[in-house]
């Protein structure tokens, strides 16, 4: 029996609920096409700033028994070069979402103005990166006041949905509520947690070039599920779950907590880019066995 896997985020139709999380792959249009080919229901670009950024020195990623730590540092070619890279992004087979970063409120709007004709279906704004000075939590952006200002500015400038990506920090719900007040169309929950640190004891130095980095993968999953669960009660707009989803069961769990779609990043390390198709197949199996006809029927089930 075939299962209806479609889900809709603020009018954007996804063939299945899996999405590529921002920051993983996504440097090039071709890599986004490759994710779409491998089953990604939607893709989020690498975060784009007004000017080019080299990012932090390597190692930018390290793995450990419970997941991954990263401090990439928002390397990106800047808005003008990104405009060339992502031209006609609406023709890649799955909807593409533009992740925008900035330091001033006007920066976010300027990046959108530069890239608005590429064909992105929505904007995602990470107010929540835990490892880049001047941005996200290290730039004082993960506050209700900043969430409101940035959301409002983008809602005025753009005619596509604006998605705010929040941190799992304790003020998550208030930040999300402020974004909703300002007109946000959806919330992505959550960014990496921490920052954390792993020290190589043989050279007695932190492994990551930046010293510390955001924690993702299996360690983050229960935190992310709880965040989605809390937000589902607190806000009325769609929630995109993100954090440690590696298998079909993980996706089902995240959706039962209240997610309308799930983002996938760290799982690409353990399962390659085929993770999207594998997760969808595993979830389909489970839904079949349980007698569900459409995947959206399980959204928020843990609340009932």
């Amino acid at each position: 029996m075939s299962i209806n896997l479609q889900t809709t985020i603020s009018g954007i139709r996804l063939k299945n609920p899996t999405m590529l999380a921002s920051g993983v792959l996504g440097v090039t249009k071709a890599s986004l096409i490759n994710v779409a080919k491998n089953g990604g229901g939607a893709v989020v670009s690498k975060s784009i700033s007004k000017n080019p950024r080299q990012g932090h020195p390597a190692p930018i990623i390290t793995t450990y028994e419970a997941g991954m730590l990263n401090a990439v540092g928002y390397s990106n070619p800047g808005a003008l070069k990104a405009k060339e890279e992502f031209a006609n992004i609406d023709q890649i087979g799955s909807p593409a979402i533009l992740s925008i970063i900035g330091q001033e409120v006007e920066d976010f709007v300027e990046v959108w103005e530069t890239l608005k004709n590429c064909g992105f279906k929505a904007i995602e704004v990470p107010l929540s990166c835990p490892h880049t000075p001047g941005y996200g939590t290290m730039g004082g952006q993960h506050t209700p006041a900043m969430a409101e200002k940035i959301t409002r500015a983008l809602k005025q400038a753009a005619d596509v949905p604006v998605i705010i990506k929040v941190s799992p920090n304790e003020n998550m719900v208030t930040v999300a509520r402020a974004a909703v007040e300002a007109g946000a169309d959806a919330i992505t929950a959550v960014n990496t947690m921490g920052p954390g640190m792993i020290i190589n004891i043989d050279v007695h130095k932190p492994i990551l070039g930046f010293g510390m980095g955001g924690v993702s993968g299996a360690a983050l999953r229960p935190v992310a599920v709880r965040c989605v669960f809390d937000l589902y009660k607190a806000v009325k707009i769609p929630i995109i779950g993100c954090g440690g989803v590696t298998t079909g069961r993980d996706m089902i769990e995240m959706m039962m907590a209240g997610a309308i779609a799930v983002q996938i990043g760290t799982a690409i390390y353990s399962r390659t880019v085929q993770a999207f198709k594998l997760i969808v197949d595993e979830a389909t199996d489970w839904l079949n066995k349980q007698g569900y006809k459409k995947i959206t029927d399980i959204i928020g089930l843990a609340h009932r």
Binding site: L25, V27, K29, S31, P52, D202, G209
Partner: protein
């Protein structure tokens, strides 16, 4: 990948190995290698990997070409080929005479070494490679070096129907197919996993091959023809 704690992590090929040791070939080209040259015996470095794939040895008479810092991956291959008793001709291409390294080491292995200092367009090295390929009946060609030279080698091998593998350099940050820095057009796959060694046929599927690479920011950098 070689980790200089507190500085950076960069990809290197293993140039040689013995039962207890392995060596890397490093040319001082930028801030990272400048720092690397300052380390003293006994200081600790880290390494991750090995990542990616290697060359597939095929045939009995081989032509190996190593240009600049790309030398290391082919010297390692030369060692493996000689251990199997295969005949190896080796072209060492460098910008200046003092950059010719590994010549005596290769000769001790029984490798026939040719060397050329090259101008910016690698014309002298290329002429030598063309002549060698004309005069000898090679079963396979392996090369690592400047991409515009690799492009010519790939075309030559395909024309002459000689098995050929090359190692392509791209900006690699994580080495595990996550960060996307080394994604190649139009396939969108990461060269740190799909490469760095690819067949001549595969190289022709990479539309950016011989045209541009991406820098640390992801911005395209076009090769000067």
């Amino acid at each position: 990948m070689l980790w200089l704690p507190g500085v950076d992590l960069k990809p290197f090929s293993v140039a040689w190995q013995s039962k207890k040791q392995f060596g890397l070939a490093v040319i001082k080209v930028g801030p990272y290698t400048t720092e690397l040259f300052k380390i003293k015996t006994g200081e600790r470095l880290g390494f991750n990997g090995p990542y990616g794939n290697g060359y597939n040895l095929q045939g009995k008479k081989l032509l190996l070409i190593g240009g600049g810092s790309g030398l290391a991956s082919v010297t390692f291959l030369a060692q493996a080929a000689r251990e199997q008793g295969l005949a190896v001709d080796f072209v060492l291409a460098a910008k200046t005479a003092d950059k010719i390294i590994y010549q005596s080491w290769l000769e001790k292995l029984g490798v026939k070494v040719y060397h050329r200092f090259q101008n910016q367009k690698y014309e002298r090295a290329w002429q030598l490679i063309e002549d060698l390929a004309e005069q000898n009946n090679y079963d396979a060609i392996y090369a690592c070096g400047p991409e515009l030279l690799l492009e010519k080698i790939v075309d030559l091998a395909l024309l002459k129907k000689i098995f050929c593998e090359i190692s392509i350099e791209r900006y690699m940050k994580c080495g595990i197919g996550i960060c996307g820095s080394c994604a190649i057009d139009p396939l969108g796959i990461c060269l740190c996993q799909a490469g760095p060694v690819v067949s001549a046929e595969f190289a022709k599927k990479i539309t950016e091959f011989g045209k541009f690479e991406r820098l640390a920011s992801g911005e395209k950098h076009y090769f000067k023809k």
